[in-house]
Symmetry: C2
Subunit: 377 residues, 2 copies
């Protein structure tokens, strides 16, 4: 090729794989995807080789339906529960399906408003209980429980998706009591809990209820890598064996090689240092977003102050978020309108997990310019 010919534009591999739907130059606040800098690629490559070499006979065959036994043991020890209560699945959404089938039958299903869009799509019928800046409105929940029968609650108490809000200590205790008292089964989804930037860790509802009628769900998607698809639930005593037939009839066994890779990562002591790194990367992005919003939208919008996780919730009074999205996409910035999560028409979810701090600054400026434009009010 001659030197005068321009070099063809090479999109980075994640674009060529179709991983991101954003156009070039578009800044995405839409997808809850970790920044590539969060991925411990080299470490996982080494772990993968060793995990297969050392335990290939177990990791490469059909193993236990409820997951790779040494990983179940590790998770059980970490959470102080019998490994028989640990169910490791291909990502925690899959676990939600299993638990819902086993424990949700005959119960009213309650979700938060707003909440993660996947459960909203999975569930055919549900009631909603609002969240505020202290998380789920437990008073409203209690009224609903009194008015109706036993219920199954899906909640993300820590750094909630989509709001970024965290359930207060006091409300956690009340939720745990409602579960322990019997009328309520709580599915506590906690993918982001370890991705905390500031403040003290709060006890989980599962811990406060001593596991009674609380299913705790987490995964390694946000702490190691989502493409491994390793999620898990801690279920009440006796539920594990009940799930075996259902799990086996769904996929025989989960992807054990992924689970063996995760275990090797844990065994090598790479988990905590990686988590520190991830927290640092994401804290800088959260800070960049809060600072940009303060500089660009102060007085024109309100937003949550997440102490961890991936997301922030924006309220733009007088602006219809779906209209804004249409114009924002043209201007090179995207987000998810709050209505997709059951939120109001002027709300939006902004993910700070993926774009760089510089992109975040630029993206918020692009958004703010549109909010200020006449068409927005």
């Amino acid at each position: 090729m001659g030197p005068t010919r321009p070099r063809p534009f090479r999109r980075p591999p994640e674009f060529r794989q179709g991983l991101y739907t954003r156009a070039v130059n578009t800044i995405s606040f839409a997808r809850g995807v970790p920044a590539p800098e969060c991925l411990p690629v080299e470490e996982l490559a080494g772990c993968a080789r060793v995990a297969i070499e050392r335990d290939g006979a177990a990791a490469l065959l059909y193993g236990h339906t409820l997951g790779y036994e040494p990983l179940r043991a590790w998770i059980g020890e970490r959470h102080g529960v019998d490994p028989a209560r640990v169910v490791v699945t291909n990502g925690s959404l899959q676990a939600f399906h299993f638990v819902l089938a086993a424990l949700g039958g005959g119960r009213r299903i309650i979700i938060e408003r707003p909440t993660y869009d996947r459960p909203r799509k999975v569930l055919s019928e549900f009631d909603e209980v609002a969240i505020d800046d202290q998380g789920l409105d437990v008073d409203e929940l209690e009224r609903l429980l009194i008015a109706s029968g036993p219920a199954f609650l899906y909640t993300i108490p820590t750094f909630q998706n989509p709001s970024g809000v965290t359930l207060s200590r006091e409300r956690r205790s009340r939720l745990a009591e409602l579960a322990a008292d019997g009328p309520l089964i709580v599915f506590e989804d906690d993918p982001y809990g370890l991705v905390r930037f500031d403040g003290e860790r709060l006890p989980s509802v599962f811990e406060l209820a001593a596991g009674r009628n609380v299913v705790y769900s987490s995964s390694f998607s946000k702490t190691i890598a989502p493409g491994l698809r390793v999620g898990y639930v801690l279920v009440p005593d006796g539920v594990g064996p009940e799930l075996e037939e259902l799990v086996a009839s769904t996929y025989i066994t989960p992807a054990l090689v992924s689970q063996a890779i995760v275990l090797e990562f844990l065994r090598r002591g790479l988990f905590e240092p990686n988590l520190e790194r991830v927290r640092g990367v994401l804290r800088a992005r959260r800070d960049a977003m809060l600072e940009a919003l303060e500089g660009e939208l102060d007085g024109r919008a309100r937003w949550s102050q997440p102490a961890g996780g991936y997301f922030l919730w924006l309220e733009l009074p007088g602006t219809v978020a779906t209209d804004l999205l249409g114009r924002a996409t043209g201007a090179g910035v995207t987000f998810v309108p709050g209505v997709d999560f059951g939120g109001g028409p002027s709300s939006a979810r902004l993910a700070f997990s993926f774009a760089s701090p510089a992109e975040i600054e630029e993206g918020v400026a692009r958004l703010a310019a549109l909010v200020g434009s006449p068409a927005a009010v």
Copy 2:
């Protein structure tokens, strides 16, 4: 420890992992598990490292809902179909669920008698069509289609689980015609097709029907390793996008790391040599089982003559297989009674995939001793 103290018995890792439920010294003809010798452990360990190192950004993030794009491209090319029609899942049982939900609605479900026990458990209602030594009785199927409405057929035409039988060329053509003509959607499950020991490859029903109303399903469980959980289906045009929402709501994306490992294995040209090795290992076991049966049970039983796969079907006139199993377990040999697959009371499935040739000889001798005993008749 003093030299006079006996060394403690150390069970091999697969036992400690709970992988096999058989007791020590028991010879298992029960589980359809590959022999450990079939697993390319070292090769996969190397592939895993390189796959993650080279394509970590794609394999470790959330990728395409329908599977790792480069693997979909490889599979599409191998089968001569547009990659948009390839759906890669966490094992092919999971794919069966998706396809059933997308295409089975409102149709009568038909399975083979006997057939793989998982679909029997998954399906709440079904009709059965018998198989003989030429495979599915297509005459009976046709009568059923005429008598009733449109149907969805689950079939394993090649080296069937549990019978080991292969659908004849002539019946394949008729099945393809029934599908192409419209009243029938065929789900062709083909996990064993490449594990052929003798004879010529037969065209798949999918190929004979040019894909019209036939979904072809296969996996890398029997050709590379089951613990990777990489299965796939080739679906009719337009069905892929229809499945995206369902798949995303089930598990977001499949385990992409596993799929990247499989692709690396394929790219390195390891697939065909590995397949040759697997065929050799399993052919020796099939031969050992046929020879042992001939020597031990000639005239007292009948059995199928599988040209590939994992299984052989045994008919023991005058013997109730569940009774035999009770006594056989005591004598150190296990199998699965045919009734678990919809077979008759005197039938049994013997897997030759796992036990060594010497164990197979011994296990068949143990079985034969019981069949000959007075309690058996």
